[in-house]
């Protein structure tokens, strides 16, 4: 009976949602032929030398919106991410001081898997760092790069065991240090314009403040000003945060096996 009630109420909710989206057009017409005005303005201003007070010097629209036009949004989103990671660590803080994996198997999976993983791990690192470095000109950016980077500790722990990863120097303390350092650098980039007499989160020059981060690389490739730096710092901060979470999960799992 409860199942039937739940199913009927879910159907009603979904019907109302579909009706609102498709028939009433709450979000505008589905798949319009013309761009919405807001999106048009973002695309027009993101790399436009003619409008120097509005440009973000980044041809990648998503990065320009994320770290320039709606930068504060992204800052709070980052706060939510790190709040969640800190919350997860707080739930299991007693495990952080234990030293598992020292007595367990060191060699992990078979030789073939380990040999292949060596290549894959380096490829993953290169791709992740490339995501962070070119976030202002191609799709990618700090979050994507950081999430890709966090695959490396998982692979290391899965293929070589957590004890091996620890012997390589991959400890939660180092990961936390990485996260904290790059978060501080991130905040520094955000408040630098304020110190220089401008506004918080300022990227390029605005009326009333001529401060601007370098918009172009030496060969005039767009650098996106602060977008480049923020993407890069976000990459390592996110990688550190995820690494802490994965190490913690691994420690919990290995302790449970030991019981």
């Amino acid at each position: 009976m409860t199942g039937l009630v739940a199913a009927v109420s879910i159907l009603i909710v979904l019907f109302a949602l579909a009706y609102g989206l498709v028939v009433l057009g709450i979000s505008g017409p589905p798949a319009p032929a013309k761009l919405r005005l807001l999106g048009e303005k973002y695309l027009y201003y993101m790399i436009n030398p003619a409008t120097k007070y509005f440009t973000a010097e980044s041809p990648e629209g998503v990065s320009a919106i994320l770290w320039d036009y709606r930068g504060l949004d992204t800052l709070y989103e980052t706060m939510v991410l790190f709040g969640a990671i800190i919350g997860a660590i707080l739930v299991y803080r007693e495990y952080l001081h234990s030293e598992p994996g020292k007595t367990g198997k060191i060699y992990g999976l078979s030789l073939i898997v380990r040999a292949v993983s060596k290549i894959i791990i380096w490829l993953t690192i290169i791709i992740a760092v490339a995501f962070g470095f070119t976030g202002q000109i191609t799709p990618g950016g700090g979050f994507v790069g950081g999430a890709a980077f966090a695959v490396v500790p998982v692979l290391l722990a899965l293929v070589y065991t957590l004890g091996y990863a620890r012997r390589l120097g991959l400890t939660h303390r180092r990961a936390l240090l990485l996260r904290a350092t790059f978060l501080l650098l991130l905040v520094l980039v955000i408040i630098t314009p304020l110190i220089a007499g401008g506004y918080v989160f300022q990227n390029q020059a605005k009326p009333g403040s001529s401060f601007s981060f370098p918009g172009r690389f030496i060969d005039s490739t767009p650098l996106g000003g602060s977008i480049f730096l923020l993407n890069l710092f976000e990459l390592f901060a996110v990688a550190g945060a995820f690494t802490v979470a994965f190490i913690l999960l691994g420690v919990i799992a290995s302790l449970k096996e030991g019981d």
Binding site: T2, G3, A6, A7, I10, L11, V13, L14, L17, A18, L21, V22, S27, G28, P30, A31, P32, A33, K34, L35, R36, L38, G39, E40, Y42, L43, Y44, M46, I47, N48, P49, A50, P59, G61, V62, A64, I65, R70, D73, T74, E77, V80, L81, A84, G87, A88, V91, Y92, G141, F143, V144, A147, R216, S220, T221, P222, A245, L248, L249, I252
Partner: protein
Amino acid sequence: MGVGEVFWLYVWLIIMANAGMALYGLIMRPNVLKKIACLTVLADTSFIVLALIGYRFKYPVSPYVMTSWAPDNATLTRFISESVDPLPPTLTITAVVINLSITILLVFLAIRLYEVYGTLDVKKIAMIKKELRGEQ
């Protein structure tokens, strides 16, 4: 009803079916881990909705590649005439990250729940709590 309308109806039906299954699992499944999985499915469905909102129907189209790093007005106008809305993908990235952080926190809490009660079944947990209250 044209081919286009049937296509959109099909797409929306699939999205709604996905959301419906996720909501049903979220409400009716007693296992906490399944609830978390359903929550992520629901979030992923909303990302597809966001992507669809940003989708722009223009056919035929040859995506325009901006070759100049200092585009003039004509280049930008041509670029805008053939690009999709950049705002929904941006919101999707934000939503993905928030969803990821919520999932991490929920997974850790679920592990704690399992440690304390020895089960992830919310009905069994409620029974254990009732028994504990009766003993006191």
